[in-house]
Symmetry: C2
Subunit: 684 residues, 2 copies
């Protein structure tokens, strides 16, 4: 059961499409402070707290203070409080479990047993909020009820499940062509190349630099013949430049966020000085969203929305203030305090709270200071694009994913998890974050595989891809100035090829499981405890995931590791894909129809150590379940979904069935009965 | 066998007290580039590379590029290349293992299978170097031979093994008294309180602020009656202040590092503008070392030497240059490049390569630019103190530990591992670093328990202390501005008390094992593979350690964990110290003589999952071994070492023996036969 409690006059966020009536009763479980800003509750000793979507640390969120305030912060460290999303949904796994969603678009903090091991203390900046309490029998039941409440998750086109190669640094057609040639030469599958900010003219949204990308439309068309998609980036800030029509229109129509004095707010971002469209206003969304047509009409079918927390390198006011303060420090003989003040000044310029409190939104007849609705900004940029796509292409799916998000945005697009680093700990963070994202509705998501910032290494990229083949958004992305990170840069090409091909082999399963999860409000990635609620050990497992109905994943995420410990809540089939050379050394090898070797070893429930060499990818099949596998192809368009072969783990059953989903990958008739087929496997 | 290869004219570092003759033969194993700057070697697929002492990442150093250049860098992240020490010793675990020590005081980089998975490439800034190749039967045999080569490790007084409470922020006598009162009130054992920079007058070395610490000598004496020691910090830079005698003497005698033009080099550090004593010069060491007598004569028996990489917030020249550049950026309308240049400028001021190349040392008749001998600076500051102590107190041990170090410094003092963070990953880093430090001679060492920077939490501190009770230097230290971090700040006082008391219970074992390790060139902490060289799985284990002759450690280092996997290379006795409450729930509890409950469960060799609740400390006793335990006391001075009780794991043996070391904890007659006793345990 879901009950809504309303305090004050909350802003309408549209996180919940059909809001139940507010109940007017006392809020249960939590002690609410008199000022309405804090909510406290005792936690039981071993109670697990799930949720919060895009955040650092574990699946169990206990032991840290998390802040929901969409942040452009590339330092995803243990001490970080905010990432790019604000996902205020929690589930408490206690004798009588319950979930809570704070529909509150301003800053909130969640001190979950950090200051006090056994207390959760939630703090909002403003008392105005809608709170939903979700009762249920099990944590997973509560998650499903919540997912139903917030509405169906975004479904991308099939090509969005193909591998995407990206880099901040692909500047021109030649750069893209070189990547595509290498992919082709090395026989690596690929569906898309992402274009980061350099494809634009001076970082102006909806422009294409015609010097770097001459005949863009023809180029897009020629790539499409090869089933390759270009995915351009769109940034939140609109460059201030006389004659640039987006700027001119926005200014004339009053579509930009305004300062207290009514003038357009200025933020320094990639294009230099920019204005922020007021995405919270439906008219602005319609206007901005329709600008995407310039690119869709040029053949583009996918976008990534960036810098929409919104990120702000500086404001005019902030920069001027810092300048004065810095000059004041320099004007006298510098001492240690002065020196450290300098560093502090520089660090305080970007994304400053003062700047976020200095501009306004106007929508639904209200005027809201930005910081009070901060977490809705990126969400509504995504909504702007999605609404425009739905209007012009009602039957067609377009690819769309965003950096900033709020619950509600999951209906309009996916998210990637932002500017991580080429760190092993960020591979583990990726693993731990996926189920939390799913709980909050974000099914189409993934991390920058190999790491965005810092230099990657061949072993890190390979291990990360071995997990990345399971994330719906599978993208290798890296920052300018870092080591080139395409999978063909590190030798060991056979291992990279086998890994990427496995993604495409698994596509029938990944797509089926994704579609069923989206249509039926399920999680694609789940903590083990969701599937085995009676298993007290499963609750402890933080580095293994259930993936769809047939699989459990236990990725290797440590450097130099040659295996790992794994816990099986029930008997499972350990499947490991190995090289042809290795197959010659193994006694019990099986082969897929195309000769691909693998090991399939039933393992009893309990604890095991499994060997997994650097070039091997493994997974576990649950008892009585099937894993359909396709013949790999270079792109999703070339995959033959019709008659997958299967790896089966009968475990005593005579007949195994799998509910298999296929469609054309483009249209939206998701629930058409013919898309669902039953694959049956009979033990001979 | 150890062979020395000399190239060019290396500076005498005194890392090796008695250098074997250089052999004149071709350097084996490595391919040396013609310019003498790089050394390359192929690595076998699963070859493990040990060593490098104070560095990030694993016990197996493969997969990263490490730089030996003593650095004041509080960001101990995966992307970090240098910490505070420079320990150029490596061991290659291959069919015919060998070790190598690059005795080279300038910057060196070790790309150990990072750029290329199967190649190590070592690069020095200068070709002049002494290289020692150590052959042996096993990696541990090689380590012992190396340890013998570099001379006996520093041995602290017994009180140095007691718990130390520290914080940058204890400003005055009252602050210290409050800490001591709390320790006493909560019944927590403690031997020392460290004084960070605020005890000084304006951060001037060898001064005591008489306003904050009136009657310092009396205060030290009164604490000593309670067996409590104050451990003041000494920084490398000498404040420039007319009339400050250390400054005046240093300037008059030319004892400070000089610029090219012969003037004294100026660095901005805590006191503001300072000069760096030229510690590489024996006359300067003698002069500076004797200054410590001011404090030893006031009753002080221990010191920590800090900021001796040397850390440099800015130089006069660097600051002026940055100022001009910043003003140039501000003088025109700022753009994005200009804005990012500002941040870059600020970040380039501290510890800049240009500054390290702008001053000089004079010693042994040579003049050396600082950067060419950078890694000897902190080492020789430690040596300055140690030589002065040895001159005045030839029979007495004083406590001394340093932040910066080079191999050779291990003979003069210990090291702590610098400014870590209150991060769980830094607890794991602490665990992985201990054996590497031991390999390089640094036995007396430890991390800032609970973490220096960032806010700790009660669970992190408790888990960290549970490992910290095994590190010879056991200190809780934290930075100003972070959460107060004394163990009594977090409730759960019984768990903290039991943990600290266990340190004192273990003191007979820790002290014996430390002394034997120091006197016999052993490692106190060892990778499992050192003790079980034939066990191929043991080579993979990165998060368990052998500790002395009787114990294996497998610490819990993950938040919210209630246990962990552990690998036993042979049968072992799992010993877990539990609370009295918990003892009531357990079926098989044993009790120490004083009623302390514990569980002792024999476990067979192989893989296990063990339960370890947050307030429990566990260890493993090896078969046929004894663990002596003392009655806890409030200080080491009050411990009764005479007749320890034992936990024994006979494993079929009738009689078990343990070589037990005791002495007065102060004098230096280490090898006196009466210090070694044989504890015999007979199975009834």
């Amino acid at each position: 059961m879901i009950t809504r409690y309303t305090f004050g006059n909350p802003v309408e966020t549209y996180a919940v499409p059909q809001k139940p009536e507010a109940c007017g009763k006392l809020l249960p479980f939590f002690e609410r402070s008199e000022d309405g800003l804090t909510y406290s509750m005792k936690l039981n000793k071993d109670e697990i707290v799930y949720g919060l979507g895009e955040q650092i640390r574990g699946i169990n969120k206990r032991g840290w203070t998390y802040t929901s305030f969409c942040a452009d912060n590339p330092h995803h460290e243990e001490g970080t409080h905010s990432l790019y999303g604000a996902h205020n949904f929690l589930v408490f796994d206690r004798e009588k479990p319950f979930g809570v969603f704070f529909d509150h678009p301003g800053e909130m903090t969640f001190d979950i047993g950090y200051s006090d091991l056994d207390t959760i203390k939630i703090t909002a900046r403003y008392p105005d909020t809608d709170i939903y309490i979700i009762d249920g029998e099990t944590p997973y039941g509560i998650v499903r009820a919540f997912r139903k409440l917030i509405g169906q998750s975004y479904i991308p086109p099939l090509f969005g499940f193909g591998f995407q190669q990206s880099r901040w640094g692909y500047r021109c057609k030649e750069d893209v062509d070189r990547v595509l040639e290498a992919y082709s030469a090395y026989g690596l599958p690929l569906d898309s190349v992402c274009l980061d900010i350099d494809y634009m003219e001076d970082y102006k949204d909806f422009t294409v630099n015609s010097g770097r990308f001459p005949d863009f439309e023809d180029y897009v068309a020629s790539l499409k013949k090869e089933n390759i998609h270009l995915i351009p980036i769109i940034d939140a800030g609109v460059k201030i430049e006389e004659g640039y029509d987006v700027y001119e229109e926005g200014r004339e129509n009053g579509y930009f966020c305004k300062k207290q004095d009514g003038s357009d707010f200025v933020a320094g971002v990639w294009p230099g000085r920019t204005h922020f469209p007021d995405f919270l206003n439906p008219d602005v969304r319609k206007w901005f969203g329709e600008k995407y047509y310039r690119l869709t009409e040029a053949g583009i079918e996918g976008f990534w929305n960036d810098m929409n927390e919104p990120a702000m390198f500086y404001s005019d006011e902030g920069l001027e203030k810092a300048k004065q303060q810095i000059q004041a420090v320099f004007s006298k003989e510098i001492d240690i305090e002065g020196f450290f003040a300098l560093g502090g000044l520089m660090n305080s310029i970007s994304n400053s709270p003062a700047d976020y409190a200095s501009f306004y939104h106007e929508f639904d007849g209200i005027r809201a200071r930005h910081d009070t609705v901060h977490n809705l900004f990126g969400y509504n940029m995504t909504k702007a694009a999605a609404e425009a796509f739905a209007a012009k292409y009602p039957d067609r799916r377009l690819l769309l994913y965003s950096r900033a998000s709020y619950i509600g945005a999951h209906r309009y697009g996916g998210i990637w998890t932002g500017d991580n680093m080429s760190w092993w700990s960020h591979l583990l963070l990726n693993i731990k974050m996926m189920p939390s994202l799913n709980m909050c509705g974000f099914l189409y998501s993934g991390a920058d595989l190999g790491g965005f910032g810092a230099d990657t290494s061949g072993d890190l990229l390979l291990r990360w891809l071995q997990f990345g083949i399971f994330t719906p958004l599978m993208r290798d992305h890296s920052a300018i100035g870092t080591l080139l990170q395409e999978p063909y840069r590190f030798g060991n090409i056979d291992a990279f090829r086998r890994t990427l091909q496995l993604r495409y082999r698994l596509m029938g399963y990944i797509y089926s499981e994704f579609m069923k999860a989206a249509l039926e409000d399920e999680c694609l990635f789940r903590p083990l405890a969701f599937d085995y609620p009676e298993d007290t050990f499963a609750k402890r497992v933080e580095d293994q995931l259930m993936f769809g109905e047939s699989l459990m994943l236990a990725p290797v995420y440590e450097q130099n590791a040659r295996g790992r410990y794994v816990y099986l809540p029930e008997d499972m089939l350990f499947v490991k894909f190995i090289s042809l050379e290795e197959a010659e050394n193994e006694r019990f090898v099986e082969y897929l129809e195309d000769g691909t070797p693998y090991i399939a070893k039933p393992m009893p429930a309990g604890h095991h150590y499994i060997d997994v060499a650097l070039d091997e990818t493994h997974l576990f099949v649950r008892p009585g379940k099937l894993l359909p596998l396709l013949r790999p192809a270079n792109t999703t368009a070339e995959l033959d979904f019709t008659a997958p072969e299967v790896i089966a783990y009968p475990h005593g059953q005579k007949e195994l069935a799998y509910r298999y989903y296929t469609d054309d990958g483009v249209t939206k008739d998701y629930t058409e009965a013919s898309h669902f087929k039953n694959i049956v496997f009979t033990v001979k």
